[in-house]
Each structure stands twice: as structure tokens, then as C-alpha cells.
Subunit: 205 residues, 2 copies
DNA sequence: CCACGTGGCATAACGTTGTTATATGCATGT
DNA sequence: ACATGCATATAACAACGTTATGCCACGTGG
């Protein structure tokens, strides 16, 4: 049955935010298969046409979710980096925050990095938001380079390497390809090992 | 009637192979959105019912594609490792073969590692095939450990680290998050750097 | 050699999806 | 106060996965 909401006649921007928020909740709780426009409309107290007037089509809604997902990832990374004074510890905190964010909403992570929804391709504007979220990691590497705890290559290359390890490890964990015992420990260990090639002095445990 | 194992008849097995092959071609050329049962049926010269009698439902077809994808990945990795005598060069060849296989069929790669199709979850049997494909990398690391060019940790841990870097780098490249200039070079460089923490002696360039 | 029943495949139908077309109603500007 | 316009609700359409039904080609007992 349809729930007839009294149509609070909020501004369209608020409705757009509510739609993106409810779509994210729907995606997180039941996966991409449950994210249908009809369910989203009834859950948000509106009709499917709201998606078309506000986002053009379903792809537009997914693009908005993509953007907000990377915005929140970037914010999580920034706050995580700010909690640690030591540059190397800040990098580890960045990795853990990356993993926590991904595991907290695997389907959104799949939408952001994979092809979680069949025909979805992010536009260049959305990719710019993604690269902005990736920036705190580069900044953290720059801090390490400035502090002398890393050396050998440009900050962008080192950050890309760390991002690859983090993203790869998280993806394998989400896909169930990580051996059972304590994936979090394995992840942190891999993160630390990944930084070792660029650590000045090059000692390892 | 949960596990209805399809009885392997002679001509039916051929039709099953043709369906999986055509589905892979359809997925590779036009993506997951174009992989519909009606299109697959007409392209294979049969009807949609063939999928249901042979695989149960679309999920069963996807599971079969998942298995054959990992089978071919494992075969590609085995042959790549066999081309090189030097253990370290064999690891690099493994990484390049991994990247080539993924880039040759991105949608199949997404099906194998991500949530490319909304409701698809591989069963434990399929995951065993995936882990078997991952075995040549462990073997390559064992060769390096035996040759003395690597040290410090168990082979499974090192192989997992290398797999994470490879998988992460390829995933980022497929998602368009790699900076433009020469991703292949960046990939090989990351692969080499990933091995450095475990190289006995610990020198680096 | 023939009748028959079993099983795989084609055809058709059902519910649901994204999308589009039409109708309605609230809002605003003059 | 009236007309205009845009956002939304309702309804319809093509296509999807899936299920039900019918057909035909086998394999086996007489």
C-alpha cells in the first residue's frame, strides 16, 4: 500500500538530499538490487518523478550518491589524519579510516570503485571529487617526506602505492578472498610493509 | 530441491559451454546491462529456458562464468610464471599477466572481484576455484624465498601483499583513478616496490 | 517395429523494473 | 483574482527475470 504523506512541500534541495540519503540507506541495508525507484519513492514519501525532475534519471541519482560517498570518504580521511601528530602514525590512521569507511558501507564502496550498478559510469566532474578525496593521503605522504621518514620518490607516486595496497586489501576482504585469521591485523601489517620501501634508512622488522 | 545439479548429457554440456562462452562475449563487449537472458538466448540460437534447465537461473549462469573466469586467470598466471627462469622476473611476469587478463575483460573482472551484478554472491565452491587461481603467486614467492631473494615473512603473507597491490592497482586503473602518464609503467614500478620490503638485503634504487 | 512416457526446449504469461506521457494541483507574478 | 508554469502524482509502455504450459524428439518395454 502507498503511504500518503501530507507533502510537506519542502524545497527541492532538501528533497534531493533526502532522496540521496534514503537511497544510500537502502543500498547499504539491502544492496543494489533493492535500490529501485519505486521503493525509494515510497520510502521518501514521494513518487518516482522526483528522481527525474531532480536528477534526470537513475544514473543522475547514482552520480549524486557517488559524489556524496567520496565527499564523506574525504572528510573521514581528513579527520583521521588530523588525529595523529606523528606522520607515519597518521598514514596508518588514514589506512584504517579508509578500511572502516569501506566496510561500513560495502555496496556504496562498490558503487564508487567498481561497476556495482550495470550501466553506471561516473562523469569527469564526479571523478574530480574522487581525486579530491584522495588528496589527504598525498598530504600525509608529504608530511612524511618533509619529516624525513620517507624518501626516494615523488609524494604522488608513494601515495598511489599506498592507496593501491589499501584499496586492493579492502577489495579482497570484501570479496571474501582474505584468509580468515584477523584481516584487520593483516591489513595494518600490509599497510606498514607498503610504506617500508619509501622509508629513509630502509630497516624493517 | 535446493541443489538441483544439472545432469550432464552430451549435447547439453556443449550447449552449456556455448552459453557461458557467448555470455562472456556479451559481457565483454557491452557490459553487464546487455547481458540479458533474451539476448543471450537469441545470440546462442536457443531460448531462455536453456539457462534454467542447465544452470537453474541467471545466478547459476553467473557462477559458471565466475568459475571459468578464475580458471582462465589461473591458467594465464601459470603460463606466465613458466616463461621466466629468474624467480623475481617470474613475479613481475605474474603481475603483468594479472593486469593483462583484467584489462582484456574488465566486466568479467568486475564480476569476479566486485559486485558487478547486483544480487550475485559466489558460493564456497566458486571461492575455492578463486583461491586455486591465486596459488601460482604463492608458488612464485616460494621460489623467491628458496632462492634467497626474499625473506622475512611467510610466503602466503608476501603473496597476499603482492596480490593486494596488483589487484588494487588494476582496480584503480579500471575505475579511471590512475593519473594519465603511462599506467603500465606505474603498475610495474609499484609491483617492484611491493616486493622490496621482503627482498633479502633490502637495497633499493 | 510400434506405442508411450519422460525430459529438454519453445512459446506465452506474470510481476517488476526504468522510463515516458498525461493529468493535477500548488505556487507565483501581474 | 486570474492566468501561467513547474513539480509531482497517476497511468501506460517496453523490457527484464521468472514461471507455467505445450510440443516434439528421443529411449525403452512390448
Amino acid at each position: 500500500m502507498l503511504t500518503r504523506v501530507p507533502a510537506v512541500k519542502t524545497h527541492t534541495a532538501d528533497l534531493a538530499a533526502r532522496l540521496v540519503d534514503e537511497a544510500g540507506r537502502l543500498l547499504a541495508r539491502e544492496g543494489a538490487a533493492a535500490l529501485t525507484l519505486r521503493r525509494l519513492a515510497t520510502a521518501s514519501g514521494t513518487s518516482t518523478m522526483a528522481v527525474y525532475t531532480l536528477f534526470g534519471d537513475k544514473q543522475g541519482l547514482l552520480r549524486a550518491m557517488y559524489r556524496t560517498g567520496f565527499d564523506r570518504l574525504g572528510a573521514a580521511l581528513r579527520t583521521a589524519a588530523a588525529t595523529q601528530d606523528d606522520p607515519v602514525e597518521a598514514l596508518v590512521a588514514l589506512g584504517q579510516a579508509y578500511r572502516d569507511t569501506a566496510l561500513a558501507n560495502p555496496h556504496l564502496y562498490g558503487l564508487m570503485f567498481g561497476t556495482a550498478v550495470p550501466g553506471f559510469v561516473p562523469d569527469d566532474d564526479a571523478k574530480a571529487v574522487a581525486d579530491a578525496a584522495y588528496e589527504p593521503l598525498v598530504e600525509g605522504v608529504r608530511r612524511c617526506l618533509h619529516a624525513g621518514t620517507m624518501a626516494g620518490t615523488a609524494a604522488e607516486r608513494i601515495a598511489l602505492h599506498l592507496w593501491s595496497v589499501s584499496h586492493g586489501m579492502v577489495s579482497l576482504e570484501l570479496a571474501g578472498h582474505l584468509p580468515a585469521p584477523d584481516p584487520a591485523t593483516a591489513y595494518v601489517e600490509a599497510m606498514v610493509y607498503a610504506g617500508i620501501p619509501f622509508v629513509a634508512g630502509g630497516e624493517r622488522g
